[in-house]
Amino acid sequence: MISGQSRAKALGVALLFVGPNLIGFLVFTLLPVVAAFLLAFCRWDLISPPRFAGPANLQDLIADEKFWYYLYNTTFLMLGVPLSMFGSMFLAIVLSRNLPGLWAYRTAFFVPSITTGVGTFILWQWIYSPDFGLANWLIRQVAGGLNAFTAAVHLPWQVHWDGPRWLQDPAWAKPALIIMGLWGSIGGTNMILYLAALRNIPPELYEAADIDGAGAWVRFRHVTWPMLSPTTFFILIMGLIGGFQGGFAMAHVMTAGGPDGATTTISYYIYQYAYEWYEMGYAAAIALALFAIVLIVTLVGWRLGEQRVHYE
């Protein structure tokens, strides 16, 4: 039986430990969240006092064609999420085997994910440079090789591949960013999660499958895949949440949201409204809409996940 005095003392000690984190959460998370919610109903240029505008910002947002286009951009860029996920899974399966020099492979694949974002973006800017970049140089080398081959065997075909204009072409800018994202994410944290999950699969399941005469595909389909499903589900949900919030740094550093808005994502649009156009109220309204979208997608994902994820 703990006395009231002891309970109070224990609470005091607990608060002492929790306090720094709690204060940080209240000041730097909860307060801004509440402020952003209230600002969504105001007009505020950061310097004049905020003026209440009712639902005007949200009404404007619904009619804002750019918002919907940038939401499409954001969703398009999220095509990288499943690609990255399957890439990580594949890599983890390969690296879970007893290969010689395994640690070197694991390190090499993990390095891109710990490279500074801005450094990576500038590197890829160079890679995608239409005239001097590595990507188009490779394409031109392949074209040159093909032409040499067709000339050697006296075929009449010649190819003239200069490569796309990548970040300067609205049609290629988004795929270019997805490719760059895959480079950084396939061998990153997701691969580590899958490696850990693969180690947790009981070997008896594989032994049983072997006894039943299962081949590699059947073993993957009926053992590995279901046993990895909680990890896959976690990665997918985190990827979706991160995807909706992502794209800011890439747009800010590499493309300024261009060409012609092709790489502007919702998060970059929020930044533009807040810090380039000083319309904090509208920026908060976009953030509120983004929160609602992320919430709905997460809830739907959660519901679907409950039906499809196999927990041991």
């Binding site: 000690v13 002492l16 240029d45 950061l46 310097i47 004049s48 800017q125 995608y128 440079s129 239409p130 005239d131 001097f132 204009r165 970040l167 300067q168 072409d169 550093v253 590499m254 493309t255 300024a256 261009g258 060409p259 012609d260 808005g261 533009q272 409204y273 810090y275 380039e276 156009w277 000083y278 319309e279």
Partner: protein
Amino acid sequence: MTSVRRGISHRVCGATGAVLFACMGWVGCTRQPADERTEILFYDHAYAHWTRMNRDRIALFENRNPDVRIKLVPGTAEKLLGMIAGGVPPDVFISDTVSVPFFARRGVLMPLDERAASDPELRLDAYFDCTVRACRHAGRTYALPDMFSPVCLIYNKNLFREAGVSPPAGEWTWDQFLDACKTLTRDRDGDGRIDQYAVEVIWSHHRWPIFVWQNGGEIYDPPSDRYVMSSPEAVEAIRWLHDLVHVHRVSPSELEEMRGVAAQRWDFRFAEQRVAMLANTRFYVDTMRGFGGFEVGVCHLPRGRRKATLMIGTAIMIHARTPHPEAAWRFARFLASPISQEMSESCGRGLPSHRATAERVTRHPGLSPDGDHVFVEAAEYCRPKDFEITELRRANYDAFMVFYRIPRGVISPAEACRHFDDVLNTALRRYRAMGGAG
């Protein structure tokens, strides 16, 4: 068991308290003796070499004013805005001249007319008129002129020599310019593809308005309070730029964007000697001096019906609620002084707004670029970006961006001009209806 746990928690609390106490003691021990000097918070953009130069000029100021201490806060525009919004504004700050009306309308800036008129150490008539005008709003002076530059034409002297084109000695017309462009655009290796273009047409709103003005047009018409880019003069000017790319093919047609990859592209093309001319400011000269392998010259932009070019610059402002107005004024005045502007110029911040200083620094014999004094000459007829109402930032962005679609052939010059007017006039009507000034 409970007593053991209690003992541990007491020890942990005690240890934490001791650490905190020790930290406080350390902070107390290392605190400097009380400084009696007046502290002025000074914000400027955070480029590394600017910050180094700012430290030097702060040292010089503090040496001359031992009662004032300057605390430099280098940062981005967002930081400046955050400081003002958060109630901890800098006493003195340097920002783009375009932001003068925006801040003035919101009561952020201290009016400086009386101080400027009564201070024997400052004569505003010693500064370029365009820079002083850019510091005024609604008939009052809200800032002191800092560094600036008119847009001029920077050219590769080697490519001109190779093509047998003489650089213009003084003024030249659009037709003469086009003739030179046609000669300068070349297929150097004979593979049927142009690999040297004459000029880089940059579709930024820091460039195309120059040609609209030169052709007798205006972007914004104050009497009617309307944007007038659909006027025949304006459309003709934009079409002339368009034709340089798509008809005469003397300028590369690739898509350009405001920043990022594309912004580097025209730098690269000029540095790689694939483009012979570039309309640019003196802020670019510092970068350009790093290019090797060719000589650079500066000349006037070709003139249309009238001489015109655009001015880009910064201004020195004092916060309206600074607790130390007198010290802030002394520092602001120092920043605008010839010696401070000369220090600023030495790290590539464009041209001093102080006329005599500008003339002196552009006449260094033998220092690239040849014709640096053209920037000083162009300062006599350049105009500030007076068409940009800063409160319409979002609409400005949409309207300005439409011109980047012209080089891709997605939109015609006339459509672009019409779209520009539609976007900005709609936004302007809405802004006026809400009581917006400016």
